[in-house]
């Protein structure tokens, strides 16, 4: 049986590092580049991207 961690924030993609704490954060200033970075992380980590607003995207494994 495969054991995986579920229901956790794997990382965040944000325009400002100060907005995210205790989670690995990728800092990308531009909106389009942030979306692309989040998309790549989502596909690589097999996780969903959620938009918290204010320039913060989180990658969550459900």
């Amino acid at each position: 049986m495969e054991i995986t961690i579920s229901g956790m924030i794997i990382c965040a993609v944000t325009d400002d590092g100060a907005k995210v704490k205790d989670v690995p954060a990728f800092i990308v200033k531009e909106e389009a580049a942030r979306q692309e970075k989040a998309r790549l992380l989502s596909r690589i980590l097999k996780a969903a991207v959620h938009d918290l607003g204010d320039g913060v995207l989180i990658v969550v494994r459900h």
């Binding site: 998309r39 989502s42 097999k46 991207v49 607003g53």
Partner: protein, 290 residues
Amino acid sequence: MPHGQSIGLGLAMGILARVVLLRSDYRQYPTYPHGYASHLFLGIIAALVGAVSIPALIAKEWTAVTFFVIVAQQFREIRSMERDSLAALEETQLVARGSDYIESIARVFEARYYIVIFVAASAAYGAERGGVLLGIVLGVIAFAGSTLVIKPEPLSRSVEVEPAQVNFKGADLYVGDMFIMNVGLEESRKSILEHGIGAILTPKTETARDTLANLGQRQAILHDVAGILGVKKDIDTPEYTPMATRNIQTGRVGIFIVPEERDAGLLINIIKRTPVLESARGRSLYRKLS
């Protein structure tokens, strides 16, 4: 052979009952042809048990009757066999059946063997008492009565199903006015708007509201929908996972799916035809009685 006619008729009617009940429908279970072969074989054994038990009773062959009761008990294993088999497939399903649906299917399979035994025994009893014609009549009545009793109730009887537009408010995905989930990727939002379809389920009664609250019932709906319409999803695109979200104030449920075949009418029909699972059946009636 003094009871040859009744045993032969009971066996034939029992096998016929199993063949009629062994239909592979849109849920694609049992899988043709290996599933058919094993269930037909077990059906023949069940029919034989039913057919021989009546002449054995009439002839007061108590040892034989005891053996048939022991053999009949073996059919309880059918349920765990089906449960194990379906549970083993769950890990590789994009949209799982869920344990409630598996349990429901396993129960149906077990019950079908008892019907076969009952039909075979009824036909054999009829043949013993009044000849072949009475045997056939009793067998048909037993079959019709039993299938009527175990016939699953479709969801449409207690739930209103309406199509609803998939839309976004910012990053939040809605089906009609019901919130489904937050989708962070712009690309996924565009794709969901283009390909996604949805429906809103409104319970007609308190019992139906309890039924829709059951996670297993909602998973069964999603499994049936995804099985027939297909689903645009892979393991690395979890945002395309079909979802059934409940509004806790009203008890309404919003269904969302990104299907391969974008047919909203078919979606409604599939949801309406989904069986109400035994384990999910609402119990508000008992609440009132107590």
